[in-house]
């Protein structure tokens, strides 16, 4: 998608706004991360490849998570900072490994894995 900085067409901005809102909506309602809707919608609406969609999703999640964590930590004091940071160390190891593996598998395999994740989430929501 060849868009020069500063010239994002407005209909695309609208679609991005819709993705952002849906990501916020579902993370607010269900506590499932925004990535669940960001990745498929970037693929369906923007024709992103799986790697580009997942990479861009992670970057968006940084901001979404930051806003959410600040709200929770600042207003309610519910964040266990030390526990979170300690447990983030093995999680970071996982994400570095996961992104490395992702570069070495076919893109369609990422779609299949994602579909599996979505089915799991659907089952969890139905059984709740």
């Amino acid at each position: 998608m060849p868009t020069a900085p500063g010239s994002l067409p407005s209909h695309q901005t609208l679609k991005l706004a819709a993705i952002g809102s849906l990501a916020g909506l579902f993370s607010g309602l269900f506590g499932v991360g925004g990535g669940t809707v960001i990745v498929p919608l970037l693929i369906f609406w923007f024709g992103y490849g799986e790697r580009l969609a997942t990479g861009t999703s992670l970057a968006a999640i940084v901001l979404i998570g930051l806003l959410g964590a600040l709200a929770q930590g600042g207003f309610y004091g519910n964040v266990h900072v030390a526990t979170g940071l300690l447990l983030a160390i093995p999680a970071v190891l996982g994400v570095v490994l996961g992104t490395a593996i992702q570069q070495r598998i076919p893109q369609r395999a990422v779609s299949y894995l994602f579909a599996l994740l979505l089915v799991g989430i659907a089952i969890e929501l139905i059984l709740k």
């Binding site: 900085p5 994002l8 901005t13 991005l16 993705i19 952002g20 809102s21 849906l22 916020g24 909506l25 607010g28 309602l29 269900f30 506590g31 499932v32 991360g33 990535g35 669940t36 960001i38 990745v39 970037l42 693929i43 369906f44 790697r51 997942t54 861009t56 999703s57 992670l58 970057a59 999640i61 940084v62 901001l63 998570g65 309610y76 519910n78 964040v79 266990h80 979170g84 447990l87 999680a91 190891l93 996982g94 994400v95 570095v96 996961g98 992104t99 369609r108 990422v110 779609s111 894995l113 994602f114 579909a115 994740l117 979505l118 089915v119 799991g120 989430i121 659907a122 929501l125 139905i126």
Partner: protein
């Protein structure tokens, strides 16, 4: 033992994040409640902190591989509070069960679309 399991699940959450581009909260929250005894609200909040760290490193690595469109990502992130606000408003008027089932249906629909699209890809 519980700590070891929490660490293993954290690795799995990060791995999922790197592979499919989600934050990993799906696994972090149960790890924090079941193995470390946090309440659901504490776990969800603490999981957000972990997600930020994981997504930051993950996005940094993906950017190195040329897989991040920063401008689009920032637009999505900046506009997400709109949805959070919408979510709070909607949840006050619609039953939680109806919302859960609607999202379950949407998730299944997107899963089917992803598989259909991947199968027809060259």
């Amino acid at each position: 033992m519980n700590e070891v399991l929490a660490v293993l699940i954290a690795v799995a959450g990060g791995l999922a994040g790197g592979l499919v581009g989600v934050g990993g909260g799906v696994l972090f929250v149960p790890a924090l409640t079941i193995f470390l005894g946090l309440t659901q609200v504490e776990a969800e909040s603490t999981s957000l902190l972990m997600i930020v760290v994981v997504a930051l490193i993950g996005a940094y690595r993906q950017n190195g591989y040329g897989n991040v469109r920063l401008r689009e990502a920032l637009t999505i992130g900046v506009l997400s509070p709109l949805g959070v606000w919408l979510g709070v408003t909607v949840s006050n008027h619609v039953s939680e069960r109806a919302l859960q089932l609607s999202f379950a249906a949407l998730a299944l629909f997107m899963a089917a679309q992803l598989v259909r699209r991947a199968r027809s890809a060259p």
